[in-house]
């Protein structure tokens, strides 16, 4: 029941927050924090380990549309829990980050924010494919509204592009889900959208490949994979700060989560076959994103393109298909969430003071806003993968894992480290250093801003120096994902790991 509450609380909270605006202006902000806090408490009291031998810490299942074999099926494991924590934390951060920015339709803003959070939580918990799809779509609508109502100049274009990209690709996924369900129907005579049932499916190679592609494209758009990424810079740039933070820090992670939770286990063989291409695209994304980030004049766009680069690492790690890389990929999801969120918040703060994000007009922030600049430097360094911060551990694990799987591609991705240095230091040099911009209103971080950034920085540092809790948390889920496949070991001889988990089940 906790799982249902986890989704219901933000949903109801969203309505409450909307209404709260009528009672007292500004109540909405505090209330949304309270909602997220409640949510965190709830998540806290959930048992943080699985019953002996199982993967899921907690499950909930009840009928929804039995005619079609659809049920409300939620489950929590280490991977979802980790991402839930990230979601709640980032949710709170984005509430705080938009404390002063948003002065119009405050209640509706926070309503949308909470709705989006609810949708994302649903995505991380749903184990019925239909249910998953519903949440998958649901998290987008409030996000589109966030962009379209509170965004910057070009917001309608960005919102439309974002909407069409994600919706069209997810329709492909829906087709793939249906294809899968009907293959299951054909084999067993039972309609079922349940993850567990579909996991047991034996697929012929060709349909498996096409269905896998349907899933993959939807997730790759969200990730985003290079070539399908073009919605991202626009959406990130035009969204209000809180929107960019939500988008970059958690929405992108749903793509990676989908790959981990659905694409790999449902289509182990097709995924393994597809892996080299996906890894190549990941590596390409690393470089291409870095190159584009480097070319940007708009600070926010620069940060947006770094996401393409970082999520390229995630793709690379996921398709390396070994423990090391997968754990690294999850770690990267976390680290990228924290560091990029921080950078977007900083861009928002700079914009609030300068009313420009053009790096050609900025400069010399350090002399005016030393504290903010210090944070900028730190997060830029996190972004370039400085050892000691969480991003480094993640990228290192990904590269170490990917290298064992496919060394030439990994070497290519390695050059992304140089690219990261290029754009991150360019950001530092262009915005912090140089002569001071004259028209500045100079007040450094307020306590609220300091608190947000310091907490993000602290987490990055803690996970950089002591990432073990995270790695332990996802160790089991990752192992389970990998147990579903044929895994070439490092020696090069293919060793078939039987699908144990499938055969045990009736």
């Amino acid at each position: 029941m906790s799982l249902v509450l986890l989704i219901l609380i933000p949903l109801l909270g969203a309505v409450l927050v909307w209404l709260a605006e009528r009672w007292r202006c500004g109540l909405a902000r505090g209330l949304s924090l309270v909602v997220l806090g409640l949510e965190a408490l709830l998540l806290w009291q959930v048992p943080h380990e699985a019953p002996a031998g199982g993967l899921w810490w907690l499950q909930f299942q009840t009928e929804w549309l039995p005619v079609l074999g659809i049920s409300w099926h939620f489950a929590l494991d280490g991977l979802s829990a980790l991402l839930l924590w990230l979601t709640l934390f980032i949710g709170a951060v984005s509430v705080l980050a938009s404390w002063r920015d948003i002065d119009q339709r405050v209640g509706f803003f926070y309503c949308n924010l909470l709705l989006s959070v609810a949708g994302i939580i649903g995505v991380f918990l749903a184990l019925d494919l239909f249910l998953f799809f519903v949440f998958w779509e649901l998290m987008l609508i409030p996000m589109v509204l966030l962009i379209a109502i509170w965004g910057h100049e070009n917001r309608h274009y960005a919102a439309t592009k974002f909407f069409i990209f994600t919706q069209a690709s997810s329709l492909l996924m829906l087709v793939a889900i249906l294809g899968l369900v009907f293959v299951h129907y054909g084999q067993t005579g039972v309609m079922s959208f349940d993850y567990g049932d579909l996991l047991r499916l034996q697929l012929a190679p060709l349909p498996a490949f096409w269905l896998m592609l349907g899933f993959f494209i939807a997730f790759a758009v969200k990730l985003p994979m290079v070539a399908l990424h073009t919605w991202l810079p626009d959406a990130h740039t035009e969204a209000p700060t809180a929107g960019s933070v939500l988008l970059a820090a958690i929405l992108l992670k749903t793509g990676a989560y989908g790959l981990l939770r659905f694409t790999l286990p449902l289509f182990p063989d097709a995924s393994a076959e597809f892996a080299p291409l996906a890894m190549g695209l990941g590596a390409l994304g690393v470089l291409y994103g870095a190159k584009l980030a480097f070319a940007q004049h708009d600070m926010k766009r620069l940060v947006a393109y770094t996401s393409v680069s970082h999520m390229g690492f995630v793709l690379l790690g996921i398709y390396a298909l070994n423990d090391l890389a997968l754990q690294g990929a999850v770690m990267q999801m976390l680290a990228h969430g924290l560091s990029t969120a921080a950078l977007f918040i900083i861009v928002g703060m700079v914009y609030a003071r300068w009313h420009t994000r053009d790096l050609r007009e900025l400069g010399g922030l350090w002399s005016l806003l030393p504290r903010l600049s210090g944070f900028t430097l730190l997060f830029a360094l996190a972004s370039l993968g400085l050892p000691g911060l969480a991003n480094f551990v993640a990228e290192f694990l990904i590269l170490a894992g990917a290298f064992q799987r496919d060394w030439p591609i990994t070497l290519v991705a390695l050059f992304g480290l140089v690219g990261a240095a290029l754009y991150a230091l360019l950001l530092v040099q262009r915005s912090l250093w140089g002569a001071a911009a004259p028209q500045a209103k100079t007040h450094d971080c307020s306590a609220r801003e300091w608190g947000i950034l310091a907490s993000l920085a602290l987490l990055l540092l803690v996970f950089g120096l002591h990432p073990q809790p995270v790695l332990d948390m996802v160790q089991r889920p990752v192992a389970t994902i990998l147990a579903e496949r044929v895994m070439p070991n490092t020696g090069g001889t293919d060793q078939v790991v039987q699908r144990e988990s499938r055969e045990q089940l009736p």
Binding site: V67, A159, Q167
Partner: protein, 488 residues
């Protein structure tokens, strides 16, 4: 005719009775309120009698060779009656707002009931003659409705023109299409000697003998395609939608298309028309063209009613997937259910959309301006109404938690089960195009525009709220409807 058959036919008879009564009343006792209630009660009675007939519908009763009362009929008839009731309500509100223009509103109930009767006949038709009668009953009544005077102030005729123009276009084009349809029927009749829906046993390889039934089927399809507004027989749609009084546009969009869908489904299921590769190919091409062209035409359309017209073209294109899926033995059952649900979702959403437009157009009295810009900032001026509008648009776009999503889900499911992958790709493409213009309207609704001010919309709200609520409820929990879907 036995008592059983009479009982089975009771819904139709009750509607017919309503027609007679309303006509007489319209002649002798012109009280719009009274007529409205007579109309609604008559339809309610028909609906109840339909409920009382469930046992007959379950077993299926043939009333003369023409009509067949079964579960299939039950579902569609209930849907049509409900739609007609809603349209009646919309009409009452629509003309209520135009009371000062002295529009003669009383006759419209007669015409509405006539349309409904035609639709019910179509839903139960199992004979080409019944098809013809039902179709023309519906068409002739709807000509009059499209051209219905909707606000000609005594001195000025200007406002009357659009509906007149629409009516004439609809009449002429529809007659041309009817002629095609009849020619097709005649060909089929010439070939088989019967007008009942039967297996045509089309020859697989086409010698000259097979040409006649094939051509007949094709001509029949053309007639139906016109009514369903499939590309390339779609051109009348935007003009008629735009010109007709809004409640009757809703009628054209839902009832008359729905009835044709019902009869075509039954025809395709009872005959083996889809066994012919050529007919399937025609349907496939029509589907793809409708989806793409419909969505493309709607893309930057600025007139709300024309936009809905184009979007309905695309929606019917999606629906054709279901028709194609019925062609395969293992998926026909599910496809039928999918089609029925989609029609329900489409009707509900379209009704809600037109109710919304009707209400919004009534703001300044006689305005017949449906340009998007008029809705700018609606969400801020009228949050609840704007929210409903957004939900309706999301339902049209097929976003989850609205009934439109479940409908689209069914379509995709039927297509996936029948393995119509290419068609599904086109559906996805079309949906992507569709998202653009639905979102475009939503963005207009959300615009921070202060130029449109002071409009207050009073009447018709509750209908919109009700429909929107239903639309969301069925989107979240469609199980009751799903269980009620007909099995052929």
């Amino acid at each position: 005719m036995t008592l059983l058959e009479l009982r089975a036919l009771l819904p139709l008879l009750l509607v017919a009775l309503t027609i007679v009564v309303t006509m007489l009343l319209a002649g002798f006792c012109r009280q719009r309120r009274l007529l409205f209630w007579v109309y609604q009660l008559g339809l309610l009675a028909a609906l109840l009698s339909l409920g009382g007939n469930l046992d007959l519908q379950a077993s299926g009763v043939e009333v003369t060779p023409l009509l067949r009362i079964d579960a299939f009929f039950g579902f569609f008839a209930a849907l049509f009656i409900l739609v007609a009731m809603c349209v009646g309500l919309m009409a009452a509100q629509y003309f209520g707002r135009r009371e000062h223009l002295a529009v003669p509103v009383e006759e419209c109930y007669v015409l509405l009931a006539l349309c409904l009767l035609g639709a019910l006949v179509l839903a139960s038709a199992q004979h080409l003659a019944a098809l013809f009668i039902g179709l023309e009953l519906m068409s002739v009544a709807s000509f009059a409705l499209v051209a219905y005077p909707c606000g000609a102030a005594p001195g000025s005729d200007r406002l009357q023109l659009p509906s007149l123009e629409a009516g004439l276009k609809y009449l002429v084009l529809s007659s041309v299409a009817s002629a095609f349809l009849l020619f097709g029927m005649a060909c089929l009749y010439l070939q088989s000697g019967t007008l009942a829906f039967t297996r045509l046993s089309l020859p697989v390889d086409i010698p000259a003998a097979g040409l006649l039934p094939l051509a007949g089927l094709a001509l029949l399809l053309i007639g139906v395609a016109f009514k369903l507004a499939l590309v390339p027989f779609h051109m009348w749609t935007p003009d008629v939608y735009q010109g007709a009084p809004t409640p009757f546009t809703a009628l054209i969009a839902t009832l008359s298309k729905g009835a044709l869908v019902a009869v075509l489904l039954r025809y395709l299921l009872m005959s083996d028309a889809l066994q012919s590769e050529q007919i399937a190919a025609v349907l496939r091409v029509l589907a793809m063209l409708s989806i793409l062209v419909g969505n493309l035409l709607a893309l930057r359309q600025d007139d709300m009613k024309r936009l809905l017209a184009y979007s309905s073209i695309a929606h019917l294109g999606y629906l054709l997937v279901v028709f194609l899926a019925t062609g395969q033995a293992d998926s026909s059952e599910f496809a039928l259910q999918a089609g029925a649900f989609y029609l329900l979702a489409y009707s509900l959403t379209t009704l809600a959309a037109f109710a919304m437009i009707g209400t919004l157009s009534g703001g300044v009295g006689e305005s017949r301006d449906y340009r998007l810009q008029r809705y700018s900032g609606l969400c801020w001026r009228e949050p609840v109404l704007g929210g409903c509008f957004m939900l309706i648009l999301l339902s049209l776009a097929g976003i989850p938690l609205t009934v439109g999503f479940i409908g689209k889900f069914y379509i995709l499911a039927a297509g996936a089960q029948a393995g119509l992958w290419w068609l599904l790709v086109v559906v996805v493409l079309g949906s992507a195009l569709g998202l653009y213009y639905y979102l475009r309207i939503i963005l207009v609704l959300l615009q921070q525009d202060e130029s449109v001010r002071g409009l207050r919309y009073h009447s018709g709200r509750w209908l919109i709220y009700g429909l929107t609520l239903l639309l969301v409820l069925l989107g979240i929990y469609p199980l009751p409807v799903m269980q009620w879907l007909p099995l052929f």
